[in-house]
């Protein structure tokens, strides 16, 4: 999202947090949104208020925002799906997400959605993952008894052959750095 903003893309951030909290969190990574900020749909402080009870309204708002910026390259980030899945039956969120993805594809936009591990049943995770063109898993691996390694693995990516490897990731210089991970033996 940060690099998208600097490239002049239209960036939409749909969050269940307040904008202040997101900015504080991203600042901890060294990412500073103070110069260029995304368009927010947030619980507090955003251009449009996020209401977890109103799925139709959320869908409508996203569609409207995409329509207004149809001529630009669009990036959408959403962290609302885990709580929505806790509050609604998974099949209704599945339908909602299917429709949302159809809208996003119509404008040739990229949607990055996050799901929290440990909050959902495996079958729910699998069903949600099946909707997306790509699935990237971020996890922490234990190496030996003393060290922990943040690892990124690509579960699937449309148009790419399966990537069986592991990638080490870190955040620095306003960006996420990814490098092939060589396991110490």
């Amino acid at each position: 999202m940060h690099s998208g903003l600097h490239q002049g893309d239209f960036c939409l951030y749909v969050t269940r947090l307040t904008t202040r909290e997101v900015l504080k969190d991203t600042k901890a990574f060294g990412v500073d949104f103070s110069n260029k900020v995304p368009f927010w749909i947030a619980t507090e402080g955003g251009e449009i208020k996020y209401d977890y009870r109103d799925l139709t309204g959320l869908s409508h708002s996203v569609k409207e925002v995409l329509k207004q910026n149809g001529g630009r390259r669009i990036r959408v980030v959403a962290d609302v799906f885990s709580p929505l899945l806790m509050l609604n039956p998974p099949d209704s969120i599945y339908r909602f997400l299917t429709q949302l993805l159809a809208d996003v594809k119509q404008y040739d936009a990229v949607l990055l959605a996050t799901l929290e591990e440990g909050m959902h049943e495996p079958q729910v995770m699998t069903a949600m993952q099946s909707l997306f063109d790509g699935v990237v898993e971020l996890s922490i691996f234990r190496e030996g008894g003393l060290s922990f390694v943040p690892i990124l693995s690509i579960q699937k990516m449309l148009g790419m052959p399966p990537q069986p490897g592991y990638f080490r990731f870190s955040f620095s210089q306003n960006a996420m750095e990814v490098a092939a991970y060589a396991r110490h033996t």
Binding site: D25, F29, Y52, P83, L87, E117, M119, S139, E143, F148
Partner: protein, 251 residues
């Protein structure tokens, strides 16, 4: 309690050293693990939780250090009193409060309804201001001999009563409500390890008042078992994977 060791074991003999070294290794490892976790976690709130656990482990180690090497018949001067207040009393209160505060925030973020339990986001600011203010004012006052804590009265309430109440209130009232509202099973598991550790600590510190006297070795065993609980709490902050398990899963 750790400070009983030296008195029970007598002089600073080899056994006392062995006990301290064992403590240092075990709690040092727990602190190291928590710090290592905090370095790889990308979420600020979970990082604070890991750091809080490291602080708790180091504080227990500090107690063991003081209990082992400070002679039981030390002279309490104003400066010693101030150092005790700052290095032990307020360090403990602020250390535990830091972890509890981070945990409440983590629980709030994993509550699907995003509820602000008992207006915690606003209350915590006041609590922090009081705790830090008290940790500055009281040691300075003690260093200049301005008042005698042991005599009790209103200053003692402000110094000991209020900060203790803030920690107990946040840890025993706000945190359980926030955890109940959270839907993150990983967080719940992590906090339950810590809760059992807290129960053990309460038993060790206050158990003497209502339990029959038990030998020092039992206390030591409880402390060491507690280190395992703290370690499990640190490694439960996020689901951890291992390459071996992953390999087996793929096969």
């Amino acid at each position: 309690m750790p400070w009983r060791w030296q008195r029970t074991l007598g002089t600073l003999d080899a056994l006392t050293y062995v006990v301290f070294v064992l403590f240092a290794i075990v709690y040092g490892y727990v602190a190291y693990t928590a710090i290592a976790m905090s370095r790889v976690l990308s979420n600020r709130v979970y990082r604070n939780q890991a750091l809080g656990l490291a602080i708790v482990a180091l504080l227990i180690l500090e107690l063991a250090l003081v209990g082992t090497f400070v002679p039981s018949n030390y002279v309490v001067t104003d400066i010693v009193n101030a150092l005790q207040l700052l290095g032990i009393w307020f360090a403990f209160l602020i250390g535990f409060y830091y972890y509890i505060d981070a945990s409440i925030e983590a629980a709030r973020r994993t509550d699907p309804l995003f509820r602000d339990t008992l207006h915690w986001t606003r209350m915590r600011v006041g609590f922090w201001v009081y705790d830090i203010g008290a940790a500055i004012v009281f040691p300075i006052a003690a260093a200049f001999g301005s008042y005698d804590y042991a005599s009790g009265g209103f200053p003692a309430i402000l110094q000991a009563g209020v900060p203790s109440f803030l920690v107990v209130f946040s840890g025993a009232v706000v945190l359980p409500i926030a955890i109940r509202r959270s839907k993150d099973m990983t967080l719940k598991k992590q906090l339950s390890w810590f809760a059992v550790y807290m129960i053990l600590l309460v038993l060790i510190f206050f158990g003497g008042a209502f339990l029959p006297a038990y030998p020092i070795v039992v206390e030591l065993a409880i402390f060491l078992a507690g280190a395992y609980l703290l370690y499990r709490s640190a490694t439960s902050l996020v689901p951890l994977r291992s390459f071996n398990e992953e390999q087996r899963r793929k096969e």
